[in-house]
């Protein structure tokens, strides 16, 4: 059976000999690496402002609450999604035994996408004129004001166009594949772009903007209105918000892991069946857990309970992926000594297991009563989006860059440094905020008469440690980006065997 299956999967003709140009992938990877530094630095500014609130005093567009959403949305829509899409365009043609359907469509999509991200960022920082240069108050031009939906409508339109272009191109590429079997990395990639497109359109519905226009320009009052209000708005917000983490960042990173982990250590995948179980349980369970962001909030009690139960069911897809990655690494652990992408992947796998268990337990009511509204959640989010998703992406980029540009990696030592900076940085970051978050939550819980400001002042040491961890994380981003940049721009070493016709002297010598 096994042989038959392999015969079915194995290339029957010149599939492996296709020379992939990887142009689109290079564009997307390059722009994402620019974005990760830009939005990483914005995050660092926010972290420093927590301990130095006087920094950039009086500069409206660098106020903490404008920098923070720019960082949050930037790292997801400017870095995690584009890097995943970029590397999809590296591995989907290779897994399909064909070239990309079009190299031009993804490039145009990238232009739309990046314009969307920049417009969105500017709309959040909101430096435009207006009363006293404080920024515009037009809801079409400013933030939508809800977490993960913050980018304004113009930005949403640009990003959606980019997304549709990518969808079309990926589906056409897969449709003309020459290997019938769809490898699991492609499953996750298709799931990611499909789910991203679906939830993005639902989550960014401009209800407030339409109602505002009808009210201000057409004098329409009361019902019907086109937006969601109050608790209903929050419920839709978190259906979308958790999908961004669970069905955009997670399948993107897992798709990269399923392709690049076996590739980087040159070992077969542990279990195809397990990966399929993981994929379908991820899709079936993850959409249900959004309400765990509102435990004890003004939503129906049963909805909170459903979210908690499904949060625990999430152990199934997480265990499937983690067991699969560890099983794939079985017998190859000695490679940890020299294989930098493998280090990234293994650290990310462990952090995926940690962050998911943390998330499941966090959804329990007694735990949520203490840690909700504290920095514990911030540590959790960074463990997920940096420790898990970004670490997988870094490993994948370091593995793929030399192969895309067909040159040796610029510096193995620099890659090593970027790993340790990222690893130590995220560890410091998460530990300080986890301990600090529980501490502050317990203060709120046990001392209802303690003035709020005292619980803020007590958090200062933890925020110092967090800013330090954040600095290390930004440094690792800079090193990865610089390494890839130098890999791409350093002239290829002259390989006489392939470029020059072997002369008699060379053969003889």
């Amino acid at each position: 059976m096994a042989v038959q299956q392999i015969m079915q999967i194995a290339p029957t003709d010149a599939g492996e000999r296709i020379r992939h140009s990887d142009d689109a992938a290079k564009w997307w990877v390059g722009v994402s690496l620019f974005n990760v530094i830009l939005f990483g630095v914005l995050g660092l500014i926010a972290a420093i402002k927590m301990v130095m609130p006087g920094l950039f005093d009086g500069v409206s567009w660098l106020s903490w609450a404008r920098v923070r959403p720019a960082h949050v949305n930037g790292v997801v829509f400017g870095w995690l999604v584009p890097i995943a899409i970029g590397l999809f365009q590296y591995f989907i043609p290779r897994l399909s035994g064909t070239t990309l359907y079009s190299e031009k469509i993804p490039k145009i999509s990238l232009v739309f996408w990046q314009i969307g991200v920049l417009i969105g960022t500017i709309s959040l920082l909101n430096p435009w004129g207006g009363e006293l240069e404080a920024g515009t108050l037009n809801p079409w031009l400013m933030t939508k004001g809800k977490e993960w939906e913050d980018y304004n409508v113009i930005s949403n339109v640009f990003i959606t166009i980019g997304l549709l272009g990518i969808d079309y191109n990926v589906f056409r590429t897969i449709a003309k594949r020459r290997y019938r079997q769809i490898y699991v990395a492609t499953w996750y990639a298709v799931g990611m772009i499909l789910w991203t497109s679906l939830v993005y359109v639902i989550g960014n519905w401009p209800g407030q903007q339409i109602d505002w226009t009808l009210h201000n320009y057409f004098g329409q009052d009361g019902l019907p209105h086109f937006g969601f209000t109050g608790s209903n708005d929050m419920n839709v917000n978190w259906f979308y918000g958790h999908s961004i983490v669970g069905l955009v960042a997670t399948p993107g990173a897992i798709a990269l892991a399923y392709y690049f982990l076996p590739k980087s250590i040159n070992a077969p995948l542990y279990s195809h069946k397990l990966s399929i179980i993981g994929f379908w349980t991820l899709g079936a369970i993850y959409f249900w857990v959004g309400a765990h962001h509102m435990i004890y909030g003004p939503i129906p009690y049963w909805l909170q309970t459903v979210a908690t139960v499904f949060s625990f069911l999430l152990f199934i897809p997480v265990a499937a992926a983690v067991i699969n990655f560890l099983g794939t690494a079985r017998g190859e652990w000695h490679q940890l000594r020299y294989n930098v992408p493998f280090k990234f992947f293994m650290a990310a796998t462990v952090m995926y297991a940690l962050v998911s268990s943390q998330g499941s337990f966090e959804a329990l009511r007694p735990v949520q009563a203490v840690v909700h509204f504290t920095d514990y959640t911030i540590g959790h989010a960074h463990l997920a989006l940096f420790g898990f998703a970004t670490m997988f992406a870094f490993g994948a980029v370091i593995y793929a860059a030399p192969r895309m540009w067909r040159r040796p990696l610029y510096s193995e030592g620099m890659a090593e440094w970027s790993f340790w900076l990222a690893f130590i940085g995220i560890t410091v970051y998460v530990l300080s905020l986890t301990v600090g978050g529980i501490y502050q939550g317990k203060l709120w819980m046990d001392y209802p008469h303690m003035p709020f400001i005292e619980t803020v002042v007590k958090m200062t040491p933890f925020w110092h440690a967090r800013a330090g961890g954040g600095l290390l994380m930004v440094l690792s981003m800079v090193l990865v980006a610089f390494n890839v940049y130098k890999t791409a721009t350093t002239p290829a070493p002259v390989d006489e065997a392939s470029t020059a016709t072997p002369t008699l002297a060379a053969v003889a010598g």
């Binding site: 006293l132 298709v190 459903v306 909700h372 400001i453 005292e454």
Partner: protein, 243 residues
Amino acid sequence: MAKPKAEQSVLWLGIFASLTMIVALVFTAIFPAFNNRWSTNTQDGAEYFKTAKFDDKGAPNGGYTPLQEKGRLVYQREGCSYCHSQQIRPLKTEMIRYGIHTSPAPPADEREYIYDEPHFLGTKRNGPDLSRVAGKYSDDWQFSHLYNPQQMVPGSIMPAFKWLFSNANPADPSQTPVPSGECVALVAYLQTLGADRTVWDSKLNGGKGGYRPWLLPQDKQNSLQESQSAVNRAERPVHAPRM
């Protein structure tokens, strides 16, 4: 050629992947929305808001005056909701912390938010919850605090919103900063947060129960007097209102 198995079809993959989302969307987002406490036009909501002054048509869906609605837009633009939640959880400690004097704050109710578009319920408290802040501080206290938070609350990490004031020249202490229209609107909105909150009191109407405002008049008066005396003071007064 053999018929492709479902596992090998990208069409079925796409259909089933979309189905997983649609099923969850129906059960966790659409089905709960048919909840008569989340909407402005139900009997329950109308009854609840009978005591409050909500006939001004300032907001697209009513509920706020034009000034307060503008204040909501400033609140949205400045990202206040990233640091200040607007929901009291039904936990004893939270109701005490965000209460005023002898009145513990009533926990959040779905019906309070039916005019809020977008919602500002928030998920992080870098600063205190704001959903019961109305009446706790005077307008002057709010203006001073927005202009220089560290002066009013030593150790505060809130940004100073100097761009919401004109003549803001820190070098010249003789000049008093004047709050702009946006700032006035913002404070007008802040003073609605929980101001007309009603609570169910089972002792009313001879044991039959009924709604009454949660704030006792004397509590409101005391807290306003205290915050008024705290304006422009460099140090926090001993009896400063608790937050």
